[in-house]
């Protein structure tokens, strides 16, 4: 008898709401030449879809919902919100 299934226990998983990238109307595009690696976009992203590798940032477009907080907070306006095709 699988004890774990007697009561609802859920396992950690990305995309618990599916591919939330489909929710976007606008997508953030980072202009690396303007980026000063302050990491504010990374810390402010509610979704955790600003990926940080060392101090570089990129967007996880699979799950990014396009809320625009990163673009709004970027001190050098290095992120543009571009209409999705």
């Amino acid at each position: 008898m699988e004890i774990v299934l007697e009561t609802p226990l859920s396992k950690p998983s990305e995309g618990s709401a599916g591919i939330t990238g489909y929710w976007r109307t606008f997508k953030p595009v980072i202009n690396k030449s303007k980026c000063v690696k302050c990491l504010l976009c990374w810390i402010y992203c509610p979704e955790g879809t600003v990926i940080r590798i060392n101090d570089d940032v990129d967007i996880n477009y699979t799950y990014c919902k396009g809320c625009g907080i990163c673009a709004n907070e970027c001190p050098t306006k290095a992120i543009d919100m571009v209409l999705e095709e």
Binding site: M1, L5, E6, L9
Partner: protein, 392 residues
Amino acid sequence: MRIVLTGNHAVAYAALLSRVEVVAAYPITPQTQIVEKLAEFIEGGRLKARYIRVESEHSAMAAIIGASAAGARTFTATASHGLTYMNEMVFWAGNARLPIVMAIVCRALAPPWNIWTEHTDILAQRDTGWIQFFCEDNQEVLDTVIQAFRIAEDDRVLLPVMVGLDAFILSHTATPIDVPDQEDVDRFLPPRKPLPFILDVNNPLTHSNMTYPDQTMEFRYRLQKAMERARRVIVEVDEEYGRLTGRRYGGLLDCYKCEDADLGVIIMGSSAGDAKEAVDKLRDEGYKPGVVRIRVFRPFPKEELKEICGKFKAIAVIDRDLSPGLGGILHAETLASIYDLRSRPVVQNCIAGLGGRDIRVEDFKLIIKELYRGIEENIEIPPIRWIGVKGE
């Protein structure tokens, strides 16, 4: 060891011997001596446990759920309004399948304020997924609470258990009790296993997030299956406890002089003792009644009851409770159990003892004799009667 104990103190001793680890309780008459005695045991160092002096019964059950989910063996006790206040979390514990044990000192609900025995409070919890016991005397109270932990934690069961004892009749009346040795109880009751789950940072799981209709019904089904398996486990545990202590209670039902009886009194709780005395007296007069004491109300002993009732010409179902608009709760469940019998007995529902009113041996004798008379003289037997109610 033989000690003179009230029912409340018997509960406390059972929790002590069962090595409970976290207690969270809120006082309510007539349960207060349970929590006071446990506080004494814990603060006196006799019981190594945490006592959470919660600010309400709802929080008591919530704290116990948290503690049980974190892996502790947990215990609480309440009565009447405490139980109905806690009701939301009682359902939660049942559906969460946590092996919690709770003592209920069965007491009437208000209005009016009434602190004496009635079973409506505990029976109102019958749909929560808890196993429910009703005890006849203080010895059974102590033994059943210990058995309750064993049953709840059995991996075939994993259901919370409530043990009912009647207000004042058992809770506050002192009788000599055989208290088993700690070594014997330790052999009978091993430490709790981490079932059905444990909150563990090394294996992070989320308990009970949103679950859609296509997934939820299975959990209800499994809860029912667990209840069905519990029938066998309850009997096994009673047998094993009997081998350990010499005391066994018949599993789900306690039959008194039913083997050759032709009329049965179906009853729960402490007044079964008076029913048994009435049966003895009437047997001296040549009648052959018997008492079927329902020890376990959930899971309801449908098959066992049906088998016994097949021999009876008539049964009186004594309800110390009321479901207004229906009648007695035990009565309704008994009728459901005997429905399939080819030849069904005459059934009379006797509502008695509400609000703690005495049910005397004389009352039982009257009920039984009038049932016999009704059958012999072929007169109409009222399907429901209220015992001792003025103006009925």
